[in-house]
Symmetry: C2
DNA sequence: CGATGTGAATAATTTCACAGCG
DNA sequence: CGCTGTGAAATTATTCACATCG
C-alpha cells in the first residue's frame, strides 16, 4: 500500500473492474483470479497487476490469487463508485445526444440528470427522459441538485466559458470533450478527451513508418 | 533532435499546432514566438516546450524564438498532416453520427469518406454526403479506396470483431471509441478513448478528496 | 543581452527478481 | 509448491540550470 496511487494505476483499475464484472456474471463463477490471469485478460503484465492491486491493501492470497468479489468491491470503492453520481451535460448537439442516450454510463453509476443548451429549438425537449434546459438555469439547477460532475460537449469556442460557468455554479469535476485546453482552478478535477490529439497521433505513426 | 519522439511530446505537438494556427490567422501577425509565450498559451513549462521542439531540429533563433510559420509547417509535417487522410467510420449510431457530421476533423485533414453499419434501416442513407454502407462491403471499399485509418464507434460487444475485420480489410490505424480493450497485431497503430475510464477517474478524485 | 538547446538532476512509472508465506 | 508483495533496477518523462550563440 503506497501513499498516493499513480494515475496509470487508477486508469487500469477501471479495466480490471470491467473484467471482474464479467467474471462475476458468469454462470460457473470462480472464486479467485491470479495476477497472471487478470493480466492476460487485460493485457497488462502480472507484475503491473500486482503492483496496482497492492495499492488496495493486501488482498491477495498466496498460491491462490485474489478473491474476485472482494477485489471488485474494493476497486469500486476506491473509484468512488459505491454511490451513484448525478451528472450535468452541457451541449445538446450530436455529441451531447450520443452521450445522453448512451445507457452505458448509468450502469457504471453515472446518471445524466440534466442537459443544458442555448438552442431555443431544443430547450424544453427531453431525451430518454432527461430534460434539456436553458443554460441560464445552470447555476440554480446545479446548486439545487448538488451536482458535482459535468460533461462539456459544446463547440470549441464555448468550452472555456462553459467551464467558468460550471465552476461558478459549484461543479467540482469536469470531463471536457471539446478540443480546447481549459483553464480551471487547482481544486477542480479535470479530465479531457481530445479526439484530434488521438487522430493526429495515428497519422504521426503512419507517416513515421513510411520513413 | 533525439532518436525517437516521446508519446507526450507528440500529444503536445497537436496542441502547439492548434495554438500556432490561431496566431497565423490573426490579423496583425507576429513573426516569432518564444518558448515561454507558447508555454503560457498551452500551459506547459518553457522547458517542456523547448525540449519538445528540439525534437524537430534546431528551429529556434536565440534571442527571438521560433518562426511561427516555419514551426507550424514542421509540426504539421511530423504529424503526417501534409496530406489529407481518408477515414472509414464503423458504427452509425448516435456517436457515429456525431463524428460523421462533425466538421472539425475535415479541417485537420481527416475526411470521413464512408460509414459502415449493419442496420438495414440506415444502409443506403447519407449523412453530410457520406454514404452509409453495409458492413459486408468493408473489405472491398477499404481496399479499393486504400483507406488506412478507421474509427470504431460500435457497441462494446462488436468492437473486437469490427477491429479484426478492419485489419483483414487492410486498415493500418484504428481509433477505438468503444469501451473495450482491443487486441491487434503489433504493426497496427491503435489509440483508444475510453470515456468510462475518464469518468471513473473523476469519481476517484472526488471520493479521495472527501477523505 | 536574451533566447535556445541540452547535459545532468530529478521524478515518476514499469519491470525484474526473489523473499516470504499459506 | 505457487502465488503475492515489494525492494531494487531499469526505463521513461520532466525539470533545472547553464553554456552557447546571434
Amino acid at each position: 500500500m503506497k501513499g498516493s496511487i499513480p494515475q496509470g494505476t487508477i486508469d487500469r483499475m477501471t479495466l480490471y473492474k470491467r473484467c471482474l464484472e464479467n467474471l462475476l456474471n458468469e454462470d460457473n463463477r470462480r472464486q479467485c483470479i491470479t495476477s497472471s490471469e487478470l493480466g492476460k485478460e487485460t493485457r497488462f503484465s502480472p507484475a503491473t497487476v500486482r503492483r496496482d492491486l497492492s495499492c488496495l491493501g493486501q488482498l491477495g492470497q498466496r498460491k491462490v490469487g485474489y478473491r474476485i468479489d472482494e477485489l471488485y468491491d474494493t476497486i469500486n470503492k476506491i473509484l468512488g463508485l459505491d454511490k451513484a453520481w448525478e451528472v450535468a451535460l452541457v451541449g445538446a448537439g450530436n455529441l451531447g445526444k450520443a452521450l445522453a442516450v448512451y445507457q452505458g454510463f448509468k450502469k457504471l453509476g453515472f446518471k445524466v440528470v440534466v442537459i443544458f443548451d442555448n438552442d431555443k429549438s431544443k430547450i424544453g425537449k427531453s431525451w430518454k427522459g432527461i430534460k434539456i434546459r436553458d443554460t441560464r438555469y445552470m447555476p440554480e439547477v446545479i446548486k439545487r441538485k448538488k451536482i458535482k460532475i459535468a460533461i462539456i460537449a459544446v463547440p470549441f469556442v464555448a468550452a472555456q466559458k462553459t467551464a467558468d460557468m460550471l465552476i461558478k455554479s459549484g461543479i467540482k469535476a469536469i470531463l471536457n470533450l471539446a478540443p480546447s485546453r481549459l483553464t480551471v482552478p487547482d481544486k477542480i478535477k479535470l479530465r479531457s478527451v481530445d479526439l484530434a490529439v488521438k487522430l493526429e497521433n495515428l497519422s504521426y505513426l503512419l507517416a513515421r513508418d513510411k520513413m
